[in-house]
C-alpha cells in the first residue's frame, strides 16, 4: 500500500532523513520508533507532501506521490495527524471533525452527520458541541484521530497520539486505535511510548539520526543491541545483558 524507497531530506548540513525505505502492507498496523530528533516527524512530513524530499520515491496505492500536494495525498487516502495537536480553536468538536468529513461529503449536513458518527467511534460523542479548545489533552488527541478518520482514509499516519497521555488514558486510547485497524484502515504509528508499540504494532522500524537501524517484530527490535544503544547510549546493551545474566530472576 505504501512503498517508500530511499527517501532523503536535508536541512542545511543536517541530514534529517537519510535514505529511508520501508513498505506498509494493506490492513497492517505498524510503527516507526526512534529517539528524539531521529527524524520520525520529518519522515511523515515528507511522505504526506508537507516537505519536498531531496531524493527517493514514495508510492501510495500504486501511484507515485512524490512532490504531490498534501491535499491531493489526503484525497488519495493517506492522512496524517500531528504530534502537537492542532485543533481548530473556536470551532466545536463537531465542526472540527466535519472539516475532515468534507473531503468526501460536499453537503454540510452530511459532513456534520458523519462527524457525529466518527466522534462516537473515538469516544467524543458526548462532547460534540464543546469548543475544541476546551478539550483536555487526551480529548484533543482523540479529536486528532477523529478528524483524520472522518476523511475516510485508507492509510492513517498517527504522529505520537499517545505521547503526553497518562497510563490510564493510554489504556483508553489503545482500543480506539485497534478498532480503527479492525475497520479496515491501515495504520502507521510514530510512537515514543514503548508499551503502546509493543501492544499494538505487528512490525516496527527504528529510526536513529535519520537512518533506519533495525526492523522486525517489536519484541525482537526491543532486544536489538543497536536499538538499545540508540535509546540509552553506547555500551548500554552490554551492561544490560550483563545485568540480566547476574540477576536472572528479574529478567
Amino acid at each position: 500500500m505504501l512503498e517508500v524507497d530511499g527517501i532523503t531530506k536535508s536541512f542545511g548540513g543536517l541530514k534529517a532523513v537519510d535514505g529511508v525505505s520501508l513498505s506498509v502492507k494493506q490492513g497492517s498496523l505498524v510503527s516507526l520508533i526512534g529517539p528524539n530528533g531521529a527524524g520520525k516527524t520529518t519522515f511523515f512530513a515528507l511522505i504526506t507532501g508537507f516537505h519536498r524530499p531531496d531524493g527517493g520515491t514514495v508510492q501510495f496505492d500504486g501511484k507515485n506521490i512524490m512532490g504531490a500536494k498534501p491535499s491531493d495525498i489526503a484525497q488519495a487516502g493517506m492522512v496524517r495527524t500531528f504530534q502537537i495537536v492542532q485543533p481548530f480553536a473556536g470551532q466545536t468538536v463537531r465542526e472540527n471533525i466535519a472539516v475532515g468529513a468534507h473531503l468526501r461529503h460536499a453537503s454540510r449536513r452530511d459532513a456534520l452527520d458523519r462527524a457525529a458518527e466518527v466522534a462516537e467511534k473515538v469516544g467524543l460523542g458526548d462532547r460534540l458541541d464543546m469548543d475544541a479548545a476546551s478539550l483536555t489533552v487526551a480529548g484533543r488527541k482523540r479529536l486528532e484521530v477523529a478528524r483524520a478518520l472522518a476523511t475516510d482514509p485508507k492509510l492513517v499516519l498517527f504522529d505520537e497520539v499517545l505521547a503526553g497521555l497518562n497510563p490510564s488514558e493510554i489504556r483508553d486510547v489503545i482500543p480506539v486505535i485497534r478498532a480503527v485497524r479492525d475497520s479496515g484502515v491501515t495504520i502507521l504509528l510514530i510512537e515514543h511510548v514503548m508499551q503502546a508499540v509493543m501492544q499494538l504494532s505487528e512490525y516496527t522500524w527504528v529510526l536513529n539520526q535519520g537512518r533506519l537501524i533495525a526492523e522486525g517484530p517489536p519484541r525482537a527490535v526491543a532486544a536489538d543491541k543497536a536499538v538499545i544503544e540508540a535509546y540509552l547510549g553506547p555500551g548500554m546493551a552490554a551492561r544490560l545483558s550483563a545485568q540480566a545474566k547476574r540477576e536472572p530472576a528479574h529478567a
Binding site: A74, F88, T92, R94, A98, H102
Partner: protein, 325 residues
C-alpha cells in the same frame, strides 16, 4: 436548526431595513441609512477574506477603487451603461484580488506580511491612478449628471437606497452561505490552523484564492455604488487608505467571522461618527479618532466584537460557534 433561524433572521433584518424609505421622509436620515448599508457592504466584503479566512488585508481600497474607477471610466470613455459597469467593475476588482492573492498566497505570505503587501498594492494603484490620463489623474473624474434609473442615477435617495440594499443583501446571503457550505468550513479551517487543514485534504491556496475573489468582487461593487452615488472620484478617495481602514474596522468592531458583525459594526461606527459630528461640529479627522477609540475598547473588552453582547442574549445572531448544529 440554528442555521435556518439565521437565514430567517437575516431576511427579517433586511425586511425591516427595507421599510426605511417608507417610514423615513427626511432625505438626510435616509442618507444615513444608505451610508450604513454601504459601509456594511464594505465591511462584509472584507469579512469574507479577513473574518472567515483569517487573511487580514490592509488594502481593500485596491478592490474598491478598481470597482469605482471601472464604472466611471467605462461610462466616460466607452459609453458603457453603469448597470453593465456594475458587473464589469465587480469582476475587475475580483481580478485585482486574484492577482494580489496569487502574488502573496503563492509564497505563503500570512499575517502582517500579507497586510503589508495588500497595503502596498493599494498604494501602487493610488499612485498609478494619479499619473495616468484615463482616470483623470489627480484632478479626478466627474460622472456627468443624468438622473435616470437607466443610468444608475436616481432622482432621490430612495433609488440609491434600494440599490445598496440589494447589493448588501446579496453580499450577506453569500456570507450566510459561507456559514453552511463546504467552502466556508474549509475557509474557517484555514483561518484557524493552516497545517491541520492541509493535512485533512484542504487545498489551502485554492481556498484563499476563492475567498479573495469573493471579497474583491463585493468590495468592487461597493466601489461602483460609491461612484454612482457621489458621481466623483479621485485617487485619494478610490485607492486611499481611508476605505481600507473602514473596511476592516467595521467587521472587527462588529465581530469578525460572523454574519451580522459587519452590519452591527457599520451601524455603531457610523451613528457614533454622526453623533459626534452633531455635538462637536465638523472637526477634521474626529471620526477616525472616534473609530480608533472604539476599536481599542472593543479589542480590550469584547475581542469577539460587539456581536458577542448579542450572543449572550440567545445566540440568535449566530456567532461562528452557532453557525450550525
Amino acid at each position: 436548526m440554528i442555521n435556518r433561524n439565521q437565514l430567517l433572521t437575516l431576511l427579517i433584518v433586511f425586511a425591516i431595513i427595507g421599510t426605511a424609505p417608507f417610514l423615513i421622509t427626511r432625505e438626510s436620515t435616509l442618507n444615513t441609512v444608505i451610508l450604513i448599508l454601504y459601509v456594511a457592504l464594505l465591511g462584509q466584503a472584507w469579512n469574507i477574506l479577513g473574518g472567515y479566512g483569517g487573511q487580514f488585508s490592509f488594502g481593500h481600497a485596491a478592490f474598491f477603487g478598481t470597482g469605482a474607477y471601472s464604472v466611471a471610466v467605462l461610462q466616460l470613455q466607452y459609453g458603457i451603461n453603469p448597470w453593465i459597469g456594475l458587473f464589469i467593475g465587480g469582476l475587475l476588482a475580483m481580478g485585482v484580488a486574484l492577482f494580489i492573492g496569487f502574488a502573496s498566497f503563492r509564497y505563503g505570505l500570512r499575517g502582517s506580511y500579507f497586510a503589508l503587501v495588500t497595503l502596498a498594492f493599494a498604494e501602487v494603484l493610488r499612485i498609478l491612478s494619479n499619473s495616468v490620463s484615463f482616470t483623470g489623474g489627480g484632478v479626478g473624474i466627474l460622472i456627468p449628471l443624468s438622473r435616470d434609473p437607466a443610468n444608475m442615477q436616481f432622482a432621490n435617495n430612495v433609488g440609491y437606497f434600494w440599490l445598496i440594499w440589494a447589493l448588501c443583501l446579496a453580499c450577506f446571503l453569500t456570507v450566510w452561505w459561507l456559514g453552511r457550505s463546504r467552502f466556508g468550513a474549509w475557509l474557517q479551517a484555514v483561518r484557524d490552523n493552516e497545517d491541520a487543514a492541509r493535512a485533512l485534504g484542504v487545498d489551502v491556496f485554492a481556498t484563499k484564492m476563492k475567498a479573495a475573489a469573493l471579497s474583491g468582487f463585493f468590495s468592487g461593487l461597493a466601489g461602483v455604488f460609491y461612484a454612482q452615488f457621489y458621481l466623483y472620484l479621485d485617487p485619494a478617495i478610490a485607492y486611499g487608505s481611508a476605505v481600507s481602514i473602514e473596511s476592516l474596522l467595521v467587521p472587527i468592531i462588529g465581530g469578525m467571522g460572523t454574519l451580522f458583525g459587519p452590519l452591527i459594526g457599520a451601524a455603531v461606527t457610523h451613528l457614533l461618527a454622526e453623533t459626534t459630528r452633531h455635538f462637536v461640529g465638523d472637526v477634521p479627522g474626529i471620526a477616525l479618532a472616534i473609530y480608533g477609540l472604539l476599536l481599542i475598547l472593543v479589542v480590550m473588552f469584547l475581542p469577539r466584537g460587539l456581536i458577542s453582547i448579542f450572543g449572550r442574549i440567545g445566540g440568535l445572531f449566530g456567532s461562528r460557534r452557532a453557525a450550525d448544529a
